[in-house]
């Protein structure tokens, strides 16, 4: 997969050497359980995401997908079970540096409406301790095609534009893990292509959560289905045709 990483937009020349395929960590989830009071969001989930690979996770609303991402990102504390990054447990104590390795893109943009695009990115750049902040912001803004709007308040941007800025924000600190929660929502056609380019760059370990079976299947290496907090299906993406997978999904996730 190494040959493909050069094509990516995510790794700028300055950083792609340090964070190549070799350093993207594998994620392993073991017996992960999370209960919210009486509601069991996740039940003994075991999942492996190989280093530098792309896993797409599907499931109906309330299946526990976002909870799983939340636990890996360190936002949610699991009730039982562990998550390992390259064999190192991250669920025991919060490690501040975990945030440096994880880039999160979701339907929520994490952007402040009152601030301009540039102010938002500078704020997060400082918070994430990004070196060469200004150059990095500049190059990412041109990557997502937003350099002309860098002075506009986020509130004045369309949904699709905000999502592009959110993509730049997620990649700002050049994370080697990408957690994507419904990233396609609100994206226009151009931005969709852009996101696809990033996702096919493959110098990162990617975990995608979505409803969109077709888009998920065509980008991912592996697919999995979560239903009612349990992992009910897992397979290599290339072994499945879109229509087969739709049938499988209907069988497992109703």
């Amino acid at each position: 997969m190494g040959d493909r990483s050069a094509a990516g937009v995510a790794g700028t020349p300055a950083t792609s050497g340090a964070h190549g395929v070799a350093s993207a960590p594998g994620i392993s989830v073991r017996q992960l359980t999370k209960t919210y009071g009486r509601f069991r969001a996740l039940h003994r989930v075991d999942l492996e995401v190989a280093p530098g690979s792309f896993l797409a996770l599907f499931g109906p609303n309330g299946a526990g997908k976002s909870t799983l991402l939340g636990i890996i990102a360190g936002l949610v504390r699991p009730s039982r079970g562990q998550v390992f990054l390259d064999g190192e447990e991250i669920t025991k104590d919060r490690d501040e540096n975990l945030g440096k390795r994880i880039g999160a893109l979701s339907y929520q943009t994490y952007l402040y409406d009152e601030l301009t695009v540039l102010e938002n990115l500078r704020f997060y750049g400082r918070l994430f301790g990004v070196e060469d902040r200004e150059e990095r912001i500049e190059s990412l803004l041109s990557t997502v095609g937003m350099e002309s709007r860098s002075g506009s308040p986020v509130r004045t941007l369309s949904r699709g534009m905000r999502q592009r800025v959110a993509l730049a924000r997620a990649l700002l600190h050049d994370p080697d893990i990408l957690l994507l929660d419904e990233p396609y929502s609100g994206l226009d056609q151009d931005a969709m292509v852009m996101l696809k380019t990033v996702l096919t760059a493959r110098n990162k370990t990617i975990l995608l959560v979505t409803h969109d079976l077709v888009r998920g299947l065509e980008s991912a290496d592996r697919v999995a289905i979560l239903n009612r907090g349990r992992l009910v299906f897992e397979a290599e993406a290339r072994e499945l045709s879109a229509s087969d997978f739709e049938q499988t999904y209907r069988d497992h996730a109703v």
């Binding site: 919210y36 009071g37 504390r77 009612r228």
Partner: protein, 240 residues
């Protein structure tokens, strides 16, 4: 099912509490001498002061178990904290009821912002906040953590409330129990014995009630588990 029945039976500990209560009632209402100035109404003191002690002790217990809960994240410490808060609240309510009943004939008014009463009032409000958060936060994932935080802050707050209410009104002159010379210095020996017995019996009663409350909470968990299992075996039949 036999297991459940056994757990809800009257225990020897319950019997001890019952005997203790009768003894304490006898000591307080009949055996202890009549107070010269205040008369028989002063006898309410034996229950009022004993409850006030429990109300405060219970909240410290809430705080300690909250710390342990945040540390270990074990449900049982949350149960201890919650049970202590609920039972402690009952005793605190008792303080708030007996205070005015005692105060009316002695001070000539139902309520006065005397330091002890003010202290109990603030403690009562913290209990109310704790129980409200428990009830209205039932659907929040982090409610146990929030309650533990409130339990800890409330406990840290107790000395501050003590001093604030004390300096606010000055030491009150009517107190027989808390004087500048120390606990109980203004009382006759028999009165002190009756009060001590009452305090011990109330402490036992508190632990008995807590034990029952905790058993109830564990039963609830068990019922929830069973419901979950049934639901899982026949998805869609129970609830959704």
């Amino acid at each position: 099912m036999a297991g459940l029945a056994t757990r809800l039976r009257i225990t020897p500990f319950g019997l001890i509490c019952l005997v203790g209560l009768v003894a304490s009632l006898y000591l307080s209402l009949i055996w202890a001498p009549r107070e010269r100035v205040m008369g028989d109404v002063q006898r309410i003191m034996y229950f009022h002061v004993a409850s006030a002690w429990i109300a405060e002790f219970a909240f410290v217990l809430v705080g300690v178990s909250s710390v342990i809960y945040l540390w270990l994240r074990e449900r049982r410490w949350d149960i201890v904290a919650y049970s202590a808060a609920e039972v402690g609240f009952v005793f605190c309510c008792f303080v708030m009821i007996t205070g005015p009943i005692w105060g009316k004939p002695v001070w000539g008014t139902w309520w006065t912002w005397d330091p002890r009463l003010t202290f109990s009032m603030i403690l009562w409000l913290i209990y109310v906040a704790y129980l409200m958060l428990r009830v209205y936060g039932d659907d929040m994932p982090q409610v146990k953590t929030f309650l533990a935080v409130l339990g800890i802050l409330g406990t840290i707050d107790i000395p501050f409330i003590h001093f604030a209410t004390m300096w606010w009104r000055g030491l009150h002159p009517d107190s027989l129990v808390m004087t500048e010379e120390g606990l109980g210095a203004g009382m006759e020996v028999d009165m002190r014995i009756a009060l001590a017995v009452s305090a011990v019996v109330f402490t036992l009663l508190f632990f008995y009630l807590m034990q029952r409350r905790m058993a109830l909470e564990r039963l609830r968990d068990e019922a929830e588990d069973l419901r979950e299992r049934v639901e899982h075996r026949h998805p869609g039949t129970v609830g959704a």
